[in-house]
């Protein structure tokens, strides 16, 4: 195992260095981000750990602000080569006075880093101060990867910057929007770094692979998480006795309570998605689901319920018949298969295959009304959670605005119906709702969850092509 790669993140003040690090390390709370100049005034090391192992050690540095004067000052320093002049400057008194902030950057680059990522706000015009910055950084004789930020902004002067970088002999570059990165842009960044650090290429490849793996895992986890919530909501079923049903006020209160529970399931999914993508609990919200009154169900002949009863009866009968068959054999066929038949009957009855159906029948006799969630709500919830997951996957950890998933765009209905049909199985299983009394997480629920997650998966696949710098 190599030592962790050391990267200094440098750039002009307010170019987005700390934001880049927040996104690359997936830490929403790293450093301080604001549009005030000189927000970061110290050098701070932060690690990127992949699967618990140190992969990269980043050093966040203050912005270079007074580069024109520093470049002049550096040229007056003693020394035969540029790095020597930088060292002479760092040893001198001005490194602690007027150029204290710049000295931190150069010290970090010389002593703490294998290479530098130069963050550039491409909305800025290319000015002499920027050229001076590049020249000063180049004096440290470390490979520099320019990272072009805000390239998708309308005011981006990307082409000017391309030209300026080439004129400064920086031919490798990467594009990375720190607030709204492309999917896979992160991997591209490390791949680009490999062109500058040939000796570390294998290590960088391992990082890229681990990042891709982590991204796949997050995507799959998101699918399962959404699927589980959909099952919860589809399975949600509450009974209301006949006399309370007749009282409109109590019926209304009952429906409100029911809707509140649906909302809680949705909120839980949002919280879990935020945690999965390493955002804070209040970084996103789902608009209030339009909740109609739910559907009062009298599904004595719900196919899933019948299927379930049939399956249990069948299995019980099979086991019983097996026991009977052994008895038959032991009796050398004298019982003429009577034991097998008897066993099958007893087994079927013992397995309790009729119990859920019986409960239904009882409810019907007692006049208990059962409330479940409408198909439309399920479809809408699925759509919103999917869009939230997509948005979170594309969100940089430096984004400051709260994400809100609300009004629904087109494309919602396309495969929504298929999803709702698949959820029909859950409607016959009120015990599949997590957090409800008597909830069980059995193999059938797990299987439905897997197949739902697989159906959701294509909706979370990245479809945005990754633009490649250089």
């Amino acid at each position: 195992m190599h030592e962790a790669l050391r990267i200094a993140v440098v750039g002009h003040t307010n170019a987005g260095k700390t934001s880049l690090l927040r996104t690359l390390t997936r830490r929403v709370d790293f450093g301080q981000v604001s549009d005030r100049p000189g927000t970061t005034r110290h050098a701070e090391a932060v690690e990127l750990r992949l699967d618990g192992r140190r992969a990269v050690r980043f050093v966040d540095t203050p912005g270079l602000e007074d580069s024109v004067a520093l470049l002049q000052f550096l040229s007056r320093q003693p020394g035969d080569s540029r790095p020597e002049r930088v060292r002479a400057f760092l040893a001198g008194p001005e490194a602690r006075a007027s150029f204290e902030q710049e000295a931190k950057v150069l010290r970090a680059l010389l002593d703490q880093a294998d290479c530098a990522m130069l963050v550039i706000d491409t909305r800025e015009p290319v000015l002499p101060k920027h050229r001076a910055e590049i020249e000063i950084l180049a004096s440290c004789a470390r490979p520099i990867l320019p990272v072009l930020n805000f390239v998708r902004d309308g005011a981006s002067r990307r082409d000017d910057w391309h030209r300026a970088l080439e004129e400064s002999n920086l031919h490798a570059r990467a594009e990375f929007d720190v607030v709204a990165p492309f999917i896979g842009a992160e991997q591209q960044l490390y791949t680009d770094l490999g062109t500058l650090l040939p000796a570390r290429r294998a290590q960088l490849r391992a990082i890229t692979a681990a990042l891709a793996q982590a991204e796949r895992e997050r995507r799959q986890a998101a699918c399962r998480l959404i699927a589980s919530t959909l099952i919860d909501v589809a399975a949600q079923r509450r009974g209301l006795p006949a006399d309370e049903f007749a009282d409109p006020r109590r019926q209304q209160a009952f429906v409100r309570d029911f809707q509140g529970q649906v909302g809680r399931h949705a909120r839980r999914a949002v919280d879990e998605l935020l945690a999965l993508y390493a955002f804070r609990a209040d970084d996103a919200e789902l608009a209030q689901l339009p909740l109609p009154d739910g559907r009062w169900e009298d599904d004595l002949f719900n196919p899933e319920l019948l299927l379930q009863a049939g399956k249990r009866l069948g299995l019980g009968a099979m086991i019983g018949a097996g026991v009977g068959a052994v008895a038959d054999v032991a009796l050398a066929g004298l019982s003429l298969g009577a034991a097998t038949t008897l066993g099958a009957t007893v087994g079927g009855a013992v397995s309790g295959g009729w119990r859920p159906l019986w409960r239904k029948l009882q409810n019907r006799i007692d006049g208990v009304q059962e409330l479940t969630v409408e198909d439309a709500v399920l479809g809408l919830l699925a759509e919103r959670l999917l869009r939230l997951a997509r948005a979170l996957a594309r969100r940089g950890h430096a984004a400051q605005q709260r994400l809100r998933v609300g009004d629904d765009g087109p494309g919602a209905a396309a495969d929504g119906q298929r999803l709702v049909d698949a959820l029909d199985a859950a409607r016959g299983h009120p015990e599949w709702e997590r957090g409800s009394p008597g909830a069980v997480d059995d193999a059938d629920r797990a299987q439905l969850l897997e197949s739902l997650a697989a159906a959701l998966r294509p909706r979370l696949e990245p479809d945005t092509a990754v633009p490649i710098g250089a």
Partner: protein
């Protein structure tokens, strides 16, 4: 507790089962795991291993590994008991075949000895193709596992949880069919060994008469049947009754059959039981056991996409050391306080306009602004330009200095340096922030850099007002 004992019992399977059981127990409410989580974080390198370690530590507190070890021992007992049971069935079969009558219907014996086995074997093979059955596993093996968990001597508070965890873990890795298969086939193989011993014993020390009888089938059918079924055992050296022998014993219950042909019949029956019963079961038991062993390495891998696992990973991530300041901020000693007029002020009404670090598309000179007493100067910020601009200011000493900047750009210390050096040359100064947005940031910055005396204007008319106001106060 000695530290080595629990280590030894920690196979990948045990670790995976305990992890799954802890997860199931935590479904009812989280366990107090702060210490376990921290210890796992300290002692294991990767997230997967840390999660398994955490579960193991929690499991130890709940007594799961001990329970698992007890269940293992009980499992062997159950296996033996089940084998005995099936063997007894085999014995029953053999008894039915080698009944008191000393007269055996050879073909019926063939069917009753191998029929049930053939049926269950066919079902198992069919099950390999059906995913639903694959996940459920072989019934006999499932029965063995179920009995183990329900046995009174192995019972503990978490016995059922452990059994369900075993099922879930094996199902997830597609190993349940192989474990239950190994158990089922093992039991059947044992039963066939016992059956063969009993048959051998019976044939060795009793004189039986083997024959066939039928109401509707002819001798030709039995000849073909015996020949076909005997072909494989014949390869292993078992004798097969020839056509004549079949013809001879057919429908002649009482007599006629020679001792030699009876011996052939007996060997044929035993050969068939060995080749069609014992051999496939033993081979499948070995195959299942091999697949089971090969699959155990997979068990150490956790499913990282499980939401429960993701929550724990997030908590482990939170244990990572926080970012560390390696070069702390040292407030630079405050720069020389910028004083506006130091030398004699310039002539009243004179104005200098300087465009500082403006974007290339900015029109210059600024439309709608007086050009001032000297030609409006525009500098991109290079060192030579700065010096030239400062020299010009020093030479002309304007009454008012208007510095036009690009508002959306961030102010920096380079700008501050220029401003500080330019201010002494004029009596009063203003910054004109051009472009949309960012003006508030410039005002804050001017204040924080102790340029409170410098005015900030945001448009050309406002700049003209500012120039005019200065003239009024200048004359007053």
């Amino acid at each position: 507790m000695s530290p080595t004992a629990p280590r030894r019992s920690r196979s990948p399977l045990a670790a995976a089962i305990v992890a799954e059981a802890v997860r199931r127990i935590e479904a009812d409410g989280p366990l107090d795991d702060a210490a376990a989580l921290a210890q796992a974080f300290r002692t294991r390198p990767t997230r997967g291993e840390q999660l398994l370690e955490r579960a193991w530590l929690l499991g130890q507190r709940l007594g799961l590994p001990a329970q698992l070890a007890r269940g293992r021992q009980a499992g062997w007992g159950v296996l033996l008991a089940l084998a005995l049971l099936v063997a007894l069935t085999g014995l029953g079969l053999a008894r039915a075949v080698l009944g008191e009558g000393r007269h055996i219907n050879a073909v019926a014996a063939f069917v009753s000895l191998l029929g049930l086995h053939g049926l269950t074997l066919a079902l198992w093979l069919l099950g390999l193709l059906l995913p639903a059955v694959r996940r459920a596993g072989a019934p006999l093996g499932r029965l063995a596992l179920w009995l183990t968990a329900h046995l009174p001597l192995a019972r503990g508070p978490h016995a059922l949880t452990l059994l369900r965890s075993l099922g879930a873990v094996l199902r997830r890795h597609g190993l349940l069919i192989w474990l239950t298969g190994a158990i089922s086939h093992g039991i059947w193989a044992l039963a066939f060994v016992i059956t063969l011993v009993v048959l051998l014993f019976g044939f060795a020390f009793h004189a039986y008469t083997l024959s066939w009888e039928s109401t509707i089938l002819g001798a030709g059918f039995f000849q073909r049947f015996v020949q076909l079924s005997g072909a494989l055992p014949a390869l292993l050296g078992f004798p097969v009754p020839d056509a004549a022998a079949v013809q001879q014993v057919g429908n002649l219950a009482a007599g006629g059959a020679t001792g030699i042909s009876q011996r052939d019949w007996a060997w044929w029956l035993m050969g068939c039981v060995a080749v069609y019963g014992l051999l496939p079961r033993a081979l499948l038991a070995c195959f299942s056991a091999w697949r089971w062993r090969a699959g155990q390495a997979r068990l150490a891998r956790l499913d990282m996409t499980d939401p429960y696992v993701r929550v724990l990973i997030a908590r482990l991530d939170a244990l990572e050391p926080p970012p560390q300041v390696i070069d702390a901020e040292q407030r630079a000693p405050a720069g020389p306080a910028p004083a506006l007029p130091t030398a004699a002020p310039g002539a009243p009404g004179t104005l200098a306009v300087i465009g500082f670090e403006l974007p290339p598309e900015q029109a210059w000179p600024l439309p709608g602004l007086p050009t001032g007493s000297t030609a409006p100067l525009r500098i991109a910020g290079g060192a030579a330009e700065r010096e030239a601009a400062l020299a010009q200011l020093a030479a002309h000493r304007p009454d008012a200095l208007l510095l036009a900047v690009h508002a959306p750009s961030s102010p920096d210390r380079g700008t501050a340096r220029f401003l500080r050096e330019a201010l002494p040359a004029s009596r009063r100064a203003a910054v004109l922030a051009l472009g949309a947005g960012g003006a508030g940031r410039w005002r804050d910055w001017l204040d924080s850099e102790s340029f409170q005396a410098v005015a900030l204007v945001q448009s050309a008319p406002a700049a003209i007002d500012w120039i005019a106001s200065g003239e009024v106060s200048g004359h007053a």
